[in-house]
C-alpha cells in the first residue's frame, strides 16, 4: 500500500471522527435505524446465528454418519435434521448472506449514494426476515419438520405429521424479505448513482447484485405462490397437488424449481461479484474483459430461468422435455466459464498479494469450477439417472454453495472488514482459518462424490458398511471445517478492540468505498463524490484522489 492511497482521500474530512457506529447510541438507535450500514450489521448478527444453527444440524448428521448403523439419531430425528439443515442454510443463510450483509453495507457506498432508495423498506426486510426466523425457531422447538427442504408433495401435504405449515410459512416470509432487498437494490442502482458513475464504470459487484436482484424479483414470487398453494392444501385439503383429488404432484416440483433453481444464482451471483472485487484489488489490475464479466451475470440470471426441470429427470416428465432441459442446462456453463476464464486471465502475469481475501477467492475459483463441472455431469440426462438422490448430488451442490458461496462470503467479510469496523483482522490467524476451511471442505465433500458414484443414497441415517471409510473421512473433514469456521468468529470479534486501525484504504484498492473513511460516516460521504474513473482504473482513481490533496 502506497502512502498516496493511505492519506490522499478525497471525500472525507480527516478531523471528523463521527461515523455510523458512534453517531447514535442505544439499542433503539439500532433496532429502528434506517442506515443501510447498520441494517447490514443487524443482518450480520442474524445470519451468523442462523449459520451456527444450520451448522449444528450438519454436525449432528456427520456424527451419525460416522458408523454404518443408525445409532446416534433415530431415522425420524435424522429426517428432521437434514430438513432443518437445508431450510436454515438455504432460506436463512445462503440467500440473504451476501446481498443483505455485504451488499447492504457496500452497494450504496460503491454507488456514491447516501443510502438505499428505500431505507424503511430495507429495515422492514430485516424485520420480515426476523419474523420468519422466529417462526422457524418455533417450529424447531415444537418438533421440527421432516419433508426435506424441498417440501415435495404429496408427502408434505398428505402424509407428513410434522410442522410443514409453519416451516413453509417461514419460507414464504423469508422470500418476501429477499424480494424487498432485491427491489431496493435495483431501484438504487438505477436511480442513485453518483455523477459520472455510468453503467460501464460500475464495480462488477454492482452488476452481480443487479443480476441477483432480477432473479429475486422474478423467481421468489413464484415460490411464494407455490408455498401458498401448498399451505392451502395442507390446511384446507384442497387438491391442487393431490393425485387423489385430480391434482398433480409433479406440478409442485415444476413450480418449486422454477424458483429454487434460479435461487442457486441468487446465492452464487453475489459470490461472483465478490470474487471480481477481490481479484481486482489483490492484483491491482482491471478485471480482464470487464463487459464480458458484467453481462455474463445477466446471462446467468436469464438462463437460470430456463433449466429448472433438470431437477425432475426421474419425476416422470417426458423424455423430450428432459432432453431440452438437459441441453439448456449446458448453456449456463458458458457465462459461468467466461467469468472463471476472465478472473484467471486477470491473474495472468499479475503481482498478486496473497492476503486472506485472495486466498479465499483462489479457493472459490477452484471449488466453484468443480461444483460447476459436476453440475454438467448432472445435467447430462443419462448420468443424472444413475446418480439421482445420491451423495454425488450432495457433493455437487455443496461445492457450489459452500465451496462457492461461503468461501466468497468469507473473502468478502475479510476484504470489507476494515471498512465495516475500521480495524484490520489478524492476518496470520485469518490465513490459518482460510487454509483450514479449504482443507476441511475438500476432505468433507470430495469423498461424497465417490460415495454417490458408488451408489450411497442421500437422506438415510444408516448405510452399507463398505461406505464407512469414506464417511469417516467426510466427518473428519467436517470437524476441521468447523474449526475453520469458528476461528474467524473469535478473531474478528477480538479485532474490534485489539487490532490496529485500518485507515480508509488498507488494500490500496480502487473504488468509491475506499474513498471514504473507515468506518464510513453516517451519510457515507461528506460531499457527493464525482466519479471520473472506470472501474478498477488504478491510475485514474489515484489521480482523482491525489487532486483533492492539492486543492
Amino acid at each position: 500500500m502506497t502512502t498516496a492511497t493511505l492519506h490522499d482521500v478525497r471525500f472525507i474530512e480527516p478531523e471528523k471522527t463521527r461515523n455510523y457506529i458512534n453517531h447514535d447510541f442505544g439499542v433503539l438507535s439500532w433496532l429502528l435505524t434506517r442506515d443501510h450500514k447498520r441494517i447490514a450489521i443487524l443482518y450480520l448478527f442474524s445470519v451468523t446465528i442462523m449459520f451456527m444453527l444450520g451448522g449444528f444440524f450438519a454436525t449432528m448428521m456427520r456424527i451419525e454418519l460416522l458408523t454404518p448403523e443408525g445409532d446416534v439419531l433415530t431415522s425420524d430425528t435424522y429426517n428432521k435434521f437434514f430438513t432443518l439443515h437445508g431450510v436454515v442454510m438455504v432460506f436463512f443463510f445462503l440467500i440473504p448472506v451476501i446481498p443483505a450483509v455485504l451488499g447492504n453495507f457496500i452497494l450504496p457506498i460503491m454507488l456514491g449514494a447516501k443510502d438505499l432508495a428505500f431505507p424503511r423498506i430495507n429495515l422492514l426486510s430485516w424485520y420480515v426476515y426476523m419474523a420468519a426466523a422466529v417462526i422457524g425457531l418455533y417450529v424447531i422447538i415444537v418438533g421440527g419438520v421432516d419433508t426435506g427442504w424441498t417440501f415435495y408433495t404429496p408427502f408434505s401435504t398428505q402424509y407428513s405429521n410434522t410442522h410443514v405449515f409453519g416451516t413453509t410459512f417461514a419460507g414464504f416470509l423469508a422470500g418476501f424479505s429477499s424480494i424487498l432487498t432485491g427491489l431496493n437494490f435495483m431501484v438504487t442502482i438505477h436511480r442513485m448513482r453518483a455523477p459520472g458513475l455510468t453503467w460501464y464504470r460500475l464495480p462488477l459487484f454492482v452488476w452481480a447484485m443487479y443480476a441477483t436482484s432480477i432473479v429475486q424479483l422474478l423467481a421468489t414470487p413464484v415460490l411464494a405462490i407455490t408455498l401458498v398453494m401448498l399451505m392451502f392444501e395442507r390446511a384446507f385439503g384442497v387438491g391442487i397437488f393431490d393425485p387423489a383429488l385430480g391434482g398433480d404432484p409433479v406440478l409442485y416440483q415444476h413450480m418449486f424449481w422454477f424458483y429454487s433453481h434460479p435461487a442457486v444464482y441468487i446465492m452464487i451471483l453475489p459470490a461472483m461479484g465478490v470474487a471480481s472485487e477481490v481479484v481486482a484489488a489483490f492484483t491491482r489490475k482491471k478485471i480482464f474483459g470487464y463487459k464480458f464479466v458484467a453481462f455474463s451475470s445477466l446471462a446467468i440470471a436469464f438462463l437460470g430461468f430456463l433449466v429448472w426441470a433438470h431437477h425432475l429427470f426421474v419425476a416422470g416428465i417426458s423424455v423430450y422435455s428432459a432432453l431440452i432441459f438437459a441441453f439448456l442446462s449446458y448453456f449456463v456453463a458458458v457465462p459461468s466459464a467466461i467469468k472463471v476464464f476472465n478472473w484467471t486471465a486477470t491473474l495472468y502475469k499479475a503481482s498478486v498479494s496473497w492476503q486472506t481475501p485472495m486466498l479465499y477467492i483462489m479457493g472459490f475459483i477452484g471449488l466453484f469450477t468443480i461444483g460447476g463441472v459436476t453440475g454438467l455431469f448432472l445435467a447430462a440426462l443419462g448420468l443424472d439417472v444413475h446418480v439421482t438422490d445420491t451423495y454425488f448430488v450432495v457433493a455437487h451442490f455443496h461445492y457450489v454453495m459452500v465451496g462457492g458461496v461461503v468461501m466468497a462470503y468469507l473473502a468478502g467479510i475479510h476484504y470489507w472488514w476494515p471498512k465495516i469496523t475500521g480495524r484490520m483482522y489478524p492476518e496470520w490467524w485469518a490465513r490459518l482459518a482460510a487454509l483450514l476451511v479449504f482443507v476441511g471442505f475438500n476432505l468433507t465433500f470430495l469423498p461424497q462424490f465417490v460415495l454417490g458414484y458408488l451408489g450411497m443414497p442421500r437422506r438415510y441415517h444408516a448405510y452399507a458398511p463398505e461406505f464407512q471409510v469414506l464417511n469417516v473421512m467426510s466427518s473428519a473433514g467436517a470437524s476441521i471445517l468447523a474449526v475453520g469456521y469458528a476461528l474467524p468468529l473469535v478473531y474478528l470479534i477480538w479485532s474490534l478492540k485489539g487490532s490496529r486501525k485500518a485507515g480508509p484504504n488498507p488494500w490500496g484498492a480502487a473504488g468509491l468505498e475506499w474513498a471514504t473513511s473507515s468506518p464510513p460516516p453516517k451519510e457515507n460521504f461528506h460531499e457527493t463524490p464525482v466519479v471520473t474513473w472506470d472501474a478498477y482504473d488504478y491510475p485514474q482513481f489515484l489521480k482523482a484522489m491525489g487532486e483533492t490533496q492539492n486543492v
Binding site: 424480494i179 427491489l183 431501484v187 414470487p221 391442487i240 383429488l245 385430480g246
Partner: protein
C-alpha cells in the same frame, strides 16, 4: 452545513435523495418493479390454473357455470370506474386541487368497498351451495365431476381470495393517502405517493380483468347437457 441546506428543501424530500425529481423517479420505479413481482406471484397460480384447465376442460366449464356472472360483471364495472376515479385523483394531485383529490380518493375507496361487499355476497352464496373445498363441500350437481370441480373452486377461492386481499390492502393504503391529501400535502411539486398508489390500484384492477373471464366466462368451449 447540511442542516441549513435541508431547511430550504421541500418538507417531504428525504435526506438521501438529491432532489424531488430523483425521489419521484425512485418511488415510481420501485412500484413498477414491485408490480413485476406481483405479476409473477399471480402468474404462478394462473399457470397451475391453465395446466388443469387443459386437463379438465369439462369441469372448468361446469365450475364457471356455478359463478354469478351478473355480480361478477357488476364488480368488473365497479373496478373499471374506480380506476378512472383513481386516475382523476392523481391528476387532481398534479394540479394541486385538494378538494378534487379528496373527492376522487373517497369515491375510489367507496368503489373498492363495493367490490369487496359484492364479493362477500358471492362467497356466502358459494358457501351455502357447498362450493367451499374441504369439509364444507356438499355440492353434487354433477357427481362424476365433483373432484375436478372442487379443484376449479380451489383456484377460484385462492385467486379471488388473493385478489381480495390485495383490494383490502389497497383500501387501507387509500385511507392513508386520503389523510395526507386531506392535509394538503400533495401538489404539482410532490404527488409521488398518489401516483404510486394509483399504479398499485390499476394493477389490482387489471388482475381482476384477467380473473373475471378465466373464472366466470369460459362456458363457451364446452356445451354441457
Amino acid at each position: 452545513m447540511s442542516e441549513q441546506a435541508h431547511a430550504e428543501h421541500h418538507p417531504f424530500l428525504q435526506h438521501h435523495f438529491e432532489d424531488l425529481g430523483q425521489q419521484h423517479e425512485a418511488s415510481t420505479l420501485g412500484m413498477w418493479f414491485f408490480l413485476t413481482t406481483e405479476i409473477l406471484f399471480f402468474g404462478g397460480v394462473l399457470c397451475a390454473y391453465w395446466v388443469y384447465r387443459i386437463i379438465y376442460p369439462e369441469a372448468w366449464a361446469v365450475g364457471a357455470e356455478q359463478q354469478n356472472t351478473l355480480f361478477g360483471g357488476i364488480n368488473t364495472l365497479v373496478l373499471i370506474i374506480s380506476s378512472l376515479t383513481m386516475a382523476l385523483a392523481v391528476r387532481n394531485a398534479q394540479l394541486g386541487r385538494r378538494g378534487g383529490q379528496v373527492l376522487m380518493l373517497i369515491l375510489t375507496g367507496i368503489f373498492g368497498c363495493t367490490f369487496l361487499a359484492i364479493k362477500m355476497i358471492e362467497y356466502h352464496a358459494h358457501y351455502e351451495e357447498g362450493l367451499l373445498p374441504g369439509a364444507a363441500w356438499h355440492w353434487a350437481k354433477e357427481p362424476a365431476l365433483v373432484p375436478q370441480v372442487q379443484l376449479f373452486m380451489s383456484f377460484y377461492w385462492s385467486m379471488t381470495g388473493l385478489h381480495a386481499l390485495h383490494m383490502i390492502i389497497g383500501v387501507g393504503l387509500l385511507l392513508w393517502i386520503l389523510w395526507r391529501a386531506w392535509r394538503g400535502q400533495f401538489g404539482p411539486e410532490y404527488y409521488g405517493p398518489v401516483e404510486v398508489m394509483g399504479l398499485y390500484w390499476h394493477f389490482v384492477d387489471i388482475v381482476w380483468i384477467f380473473l373475471f373471464p378465466f373464472l366466470y366466462l369460459i362456458h363457451g368451449a364446452h356445451h354441457h347437457g
